[in-house]
């Protein structure tokens, strides 16, 4: 030990060298990851979705000989991990995105331009896809996104057993005024049948982004312009908040005190206090139906008025993108083409991402006799909605704080109105001033 001569300066030098080495190994990490043979694929999934996607990836490897590195997680934490991977310069080769943030990933240069890979007769062949799928692949004239399936959004899911018991029948082409009347009628009848226990006509959808979007579209415009600004007007939002405020006052909307945080199990539909819930059709009906023995069914969001057109939205719930930094774009494109166009992959993936993009494939599955009654309903719902579907403008980068997932401004302001902490007018002003700052 006496031979060891290490003074403070040498110690600091050695420490700094070791730290630099550690930092260098971080930098080299992606290089070694890229050198690995497997194509990294990141996605989130609920229930058995991760297992199903894993099976589809195995089928792809068996068919193509291209190994994959599956990185399936649940939704919570998925985007934290993905953003950290991107920030660290080590994004997966292929990863899943959704409406709330897909524009962020495209606008910041993280998603690859698929211009040469996506299209009719190209590596990701779109020849058989329905227009609703083709319309959802681009942002600002560039194709970035590969849809994983089609669903109606929002699907208004209702308790048919309960409504039949109350003698209420819903029409698919109902109007907003009829919606309000029906909810009032249901609220009164349900309350009477439950002998005064809490019962309402409808859950509070005032903070639900897909329902707001359906409302604005029912008036003939999208929420955003192609240029990434709000197309929704102050009058639209005022009318929207007043609709739910009026419902609370008249007693047909579930009041804020009766709301519960949670998943499907916490909704008014499953708790039996109001018969309507809202979700993307593919995930929603499966999720809700697994929690109740009552028969559930779909109805579209109402038309704005008797003169208005019935406008629906058939669109993907999730998309895949190819990382702009991957060296294996062609392999990634082969994988995505397989996932969305190959019958074996579609069978393995199931219906959680929606129904197949191709009308031919949908018909094949519907006629195949292998779909469960719930799956068949989801397929049929998409077929019914497709003739009324019009493309939406994808939410732009910066819209997250306003209309993104979880803690967004639309929901917060709806709650503040419900608890009488703010007025509708002040809420609308707040929304638009924040929109001006964020967009």
């Amino acid at each position: 030990m006496s031979d060891l001569k290490l003074n403070r300066k040498q110690f600091l030098r050695m420490g700094a060298s070791a730290a630099a080495l550690a930092a260098l190994s971080n930098v080299l990490g992606p290089v070694s990851a890229l050198a690995a043979d497997a194509l990294s694929v990141a996605w989130w999934g609920e229930g058995d979705q991760n297992k199903r996607t894993g099976e589809a990836l195995k089928a792809f490897t068996a068919k193509s000989g291209i190994a994959t590195d599956p990185q399936g997680t649940n939704f919570n934490g998925y985007f934290d991990r993905l953003a950290t991977q991107v920030a660290g310069g080590n994004p997966p080769d292929v990863f899943q995105v959704y409406l709330a943030n897909m524009a962020q990933y495209a606008a910041r240069g993280t998603a690859a331009d698929l211009g040469d890979l996506l299209g009719d007769g190209k590596a990701i062949d779109t020849s058989d896809w329905s227009p609703a799928a083709k319309d959802s692949t681009g942002l600002g004239g560039t194709n970035y996104f590969v849809p994983l399936g089609l669903s109606t959004q929002p699907a208004i899911i209702y308790d048919k057993t309960l409504l039949d018991g109350l003698g209420v029948t819903l029409k698919p082409d109902w109007t907003l005024a009829e919606f309000k009347d029906t909810c009032q009628q249901i609220g009164k009848a349900l309350s009477k049948s439950k002998q005064g226990a809490e019962a309402f006509g409808c859950d509070d959808f005032g903070g639900q982004v897909p329902v707001l979007e359906a409302f604005v579209r029912s008036k003939g415009r999208n929420v955003f312009t192609d240029g990434g600004q709000l197309a929704m007007t102050k009058d639209d939002l005022t009318e929207w908040y007043e609709l739910w405020n009026e419902g609370r006052t008249d007693g047909w909307v579930v009041p804020p005190q009766a709301q519960q945080q949670g998943g499907f199990e916490a909704t008014a539909l499953i708790r039996g206090i109001a018969p309507f819930a809202v979700a993307a059709s593919s995930k929603g009906l499966q999720g809700f139906q697994s929690l109740t023995k009552n028969d559930l069914n779909f109805n579209p969001w109402p038309r704005y008025s008797g003169d208005s057109e019935r406008i629906e939205l058939v669109t993907p719930v999730e998309w895949m993108v190819i990382s702009s930094s991957t060296a294996r774009k062609e392999d990634a494109a082969k994988l995505l083409s397989f996932l969305v166009n190959d019958e074996a992959a579609i069978t393995a993936m199931g219906i959680a991402h929606g129904v197949p993009l191709s009308a031919k494939m949908r018909k094949q599955f519907m006629d195949g006799g292998k779909l469960s009654p719930v799956e068949l309903k989801i397929y049929q719902n998409v077929e019914d909605a497709l003739p009324h579907s019009k493309p939406r403008v994808i939410f732009p980068a910066g819209s997250g704080p306003l209309l993104g997932p979880g803690s967004n401004l639309l929901t917060l302001l709806n709650q503040q109105i419900a608890f009488k902490q703010t007025s509708v007018q002040a809420a609308v002003d707040r929304f638009f001033s924040e929109a001006a700052r964020n967009l």
Partner: protein, 312 residues
């Protein structure tokens, strides 16, 4: 002027002494290298990076852009959610910390006795602290305080209609306070250890002077425990300012209803990871550090007025 030049002019005896010290400390420095590397890579460099990012616009997905003080200016003057989140956190800290210390002390006093099975009983009381910060407990809390949860069902048995604990902005923060207070195990164990160190002579002398149970507690136990109360207070305060999991789980990460459970750290997380405002989130983190440092300094500054110091 370099160190080598300085060394040339130093007396030979000094240089020799330095060399001997360096030789003697060499192994210690060598052993310290792993810690030093860890400190540098996992603490110092990330902190410096975070400080830099706090002056930038950084989305995580694209390189940061220099903003100067804009993040800090917006935080104090423009962000309509910042002050409510700070206010909710302050309420949480200034209610849950005194309550949890009081409960911990009361339980420690109750468990500070010799009786059969007391070890097992102490373990049982400590259990919530082992589980306390977990997601599972926060989920359980949601069930307990749900509209038709355990608490309201129990109240219904005696004819009381319980409030919607988690659904109203008035009661939701209190459920988080209760959750914190329920995790009194760690301060309780520290109090228990301190109670055992109080000399019996002091109690005997006070009893001879006619002190009753309350006086014994007020004039003997509490003054001697003040260093422990101080320690628990500072530690609990720091932990409470950083609380995240309960609010995240109970509100599904939204801070609902009406931001009444939007803890500072939850808002920081939302800004950083949901809204892609990582530069702003870094600025929020530095302000939180500053707030905790100031409050800790105030606590230490006031300690000489109320904390018992046997060496004084």
């Amino acid at each position: 002027m370099t160190a080598d030049v300085l060394m040339k002019h130093e007396p030979t005896a000094t240089v020799g002494r330095r060399r001997r010290i360096a030789e003697a400390n060499g192994p210690a420095y060598l052993m310290l290298i792993p810690w030093f590397v860890g400190f540098l890579c996992l603490t110092a460099i990330p902190m410096a990076a975070s400080l830099y990012l706090s002056f930038t616009k950084y989305s995580l997905l694209a390189p940061p852009k220099w903003l100067g003080l804009d993040n800090y200016t917006y935080m104090f003057n423009g962000d309509y959610r910042y002050w409510p989140s700070l206010s909710v956190t302050a309420f949480y800290v200034f209610t849950s910390v005194p309550l949890s210390i009081a409960v911990a002390l009361i339980v420690a006093l109750g468990l500070n006795r010799k009786m059969r099975g007391i070890g097992a009983l102490r373990s049982v009381y400590y259990l919530p602290s082992l589980l306390g910060g977990s997601v599972a407990i926060a989920v359980m809390w949601r069930q307990i305080f749900g509209n038709h949860g355990v608490v309201n069902s129990a109240l219904a048995l005696v004819g009381i209609t319980g409030p919607a604990w988690l659904a109203t902005p008035q009661s939701a923060p209190w459920t988080l306070v209760f959750l914190h207070v329920w995790q009194f195990g760690s301060p309780m164990v520290i109090f228990l250890a301190a109670l055992k160190q109080i000399p019996q002579d002091l109690y005997d002398a006070a009893r001879i002077d006619g002190a009753g149970a309350w006086q014994l507690f007020r004039y003997v136990t509490v003054p001697i425990l003040t260093p422990i109360i101080f320690f628990n207070m500072v530690m609990q305060m720091i932990v409470s300012f950083q609380a995240f999991t309960p609010a995240f789980v109970i509100s599904n990460g939204t801070g609902a209803p009406t931001d009444s459970t939007l803890f500072y750290t939850l808002y920081l997380y939302v800004e950083g990871f949901s809204n892609f405002h990582m530069g702003y989130a870094a600025a929020m983190a530095w302000v939180l550090l500053f707030i905790i440092a100031i409050l800790t300094a105030i606590a230490f500054g006031t300690a000489r007025f109320w904390v018992f110091n046997p060496d004084a």
